[in-house]
Every structure is written in C-alpha cells, then in structure tokens.
Symmetry: C2
Subunit: 138 residues, 2 copies
C-alpha cells in the first residue's frame, strides 16, 4: 500500500510545516492550482492556491499556534488518484502567556499528480466542548 | 461530463432528502459501509453507516430545519471513481415560533460504486457571522 503510506506522509508533512512555521514545506505539500480550497476554523472558504498560500503566510507568520494530530484515518484506494484523511487537531495557542487549547475536526483531500500526492482541500472546524451528538444520540 | 451531472444530482438529492424528511431517499444517497463518515455542525465525527443513519433519523424526525444550498462547486474528474462538492448551507430553524438562520460550510465526498455515485463523507461546520478571514486577510 504505497499510496496509503504516501498519503499519510503528505498529511503528516502538512502539520509539520504548520508546527515548524516552514512555508517552503507548506508550499511543497499543496497543489498549486486554482481548484484548491481551504476552510480554517471560523474562516470562510478560501479559493485557489494564491488565497490559500496567503492564509498560511499570515497564520505561520503569527507564530502562535501548534497543532497536535490524533485519530488519523486514511481513506485510500490503492491505484486511485484521489484520497482523503480525517483527523482531530488539538490546537494550542499562547495567548498573552496563557496556553489555550481548542479542538478541531479536519477533512483533508489529496490528489496524485505526476506520481506525487498533494493536498487539494483542507476543511477544519471547531469541535465544541459539549458535543451536540452527545445530547441527541443518547 | 456524465459524472459531473451525476455527482451534482447526488448532492442535490442529499439536501432534498433532508428538506423533505425523506429517510428512504437519504438512505439511497449514502454508501452503506463502515467507512462512511459524517460531521454535522457542532457534532463529533460519526463513523460508519449505522451511526450516520441514526443521526439523520434523529435530525429528520425532529422536523425543525430546512437547508437552502448555494455556492455549489463540484470537483469531478471524468472517469475517476471519487469526487467532492463544496457548498454553503443556509439552515433555517423554527425555534418556538421564531425562524433562526445559521450558515454552514459543507464538504461532501462521493464515490462511484457499481455505476452509481454515493455520498461517503459529509463535513458541515458553522460559518461565523464575522469571518476570521475578513480580519486576518486585509
């Protein structure tokens, strides 16, 4: 399952780029295409690589957040050129000396281009502390 | 672009099932598989068709919400067995006689199985009234 390993590696590199504030690595993870989309928690959807790149320059430049990833689940069919990964992001902020942690749910979509897997879509959204599902699905 | 039309039709049927509280139609839209995932706004991720089906039974049974869809963008490569759609959901609730509207961003992923497109992943998250991106990307 070479594709499985490569997709998971691309997913890992995305968060490494984030945590190391490495814009060059972040650029290498994404497809540079007008079709890419990105939803940061609390943001509207960003359309095309230029908008996505600008958002990461702002976010990495602010230098405030670190993401710890868990519950990584890959959805990869060997030989297919598209795949996606779901994971939980534990986002820690240093806000005026206090560490604040927020949890987000991410859906990351990847496409294989020229033998390389690249991120084409990132959708992350805040997970409330009290889940609606815990109230409704009881 | 038969695939494009079919993917968009599946996306439309998902929201028709929701608005018409038609559980049979909703069941026909989704893949019935342990791999399916669903994130409703404010919920934790649901895993597998049984959990997803139960959530829609609860939601459609409550009979409170109607979704108006806009900004529908399909990402479909003809001949590939996977595609996704992004769209905006305007969700209207009748809360004790008052109509309340919320906006969500959706990422919907589809797979083709036996010649039919089926939903395998739905990730919807609330869009705040004041977008973070409007503050940061200025």
């Amino acid at each position: 399952m070479a594709d499985l390993d490569d997709v998971l590696r691309c997913n890992t590199l995305f968060y490494e780029a984030f945590n190391q504030r490495d814009m060059t690595l972040m650029e290498s993870v994404w497809m540079h295409d007008g079709r890419v989309r990105c939803v940061h928690p609390g943001w509207g959807i960003l359309e095309g690589w230029e908008e996505v790149r600008a958002s990461f320059e702002k976010i990495l430049g602010s230098g405030l957040a670190v993401i710890e990833v868990s519950d990584v689940e890959p959805f990869v069919a060997d030989g297919e050129p598209m795949a996606w990964v779901t994971c939980i992001e534990e986002i820690s902020y240093n806000l005026e000396g206090n560490i604040i942690t927020a949890r987000a749910q991410a859906t990351n979509i990847f496409e294989k281009e020229g033998g390389r897997w690249l991120m084409v879509h990132h959708h992350a959204s805040a997970v409330p502390v009290q889940l609606v599902s815990e109230e409704v699905l009881q």
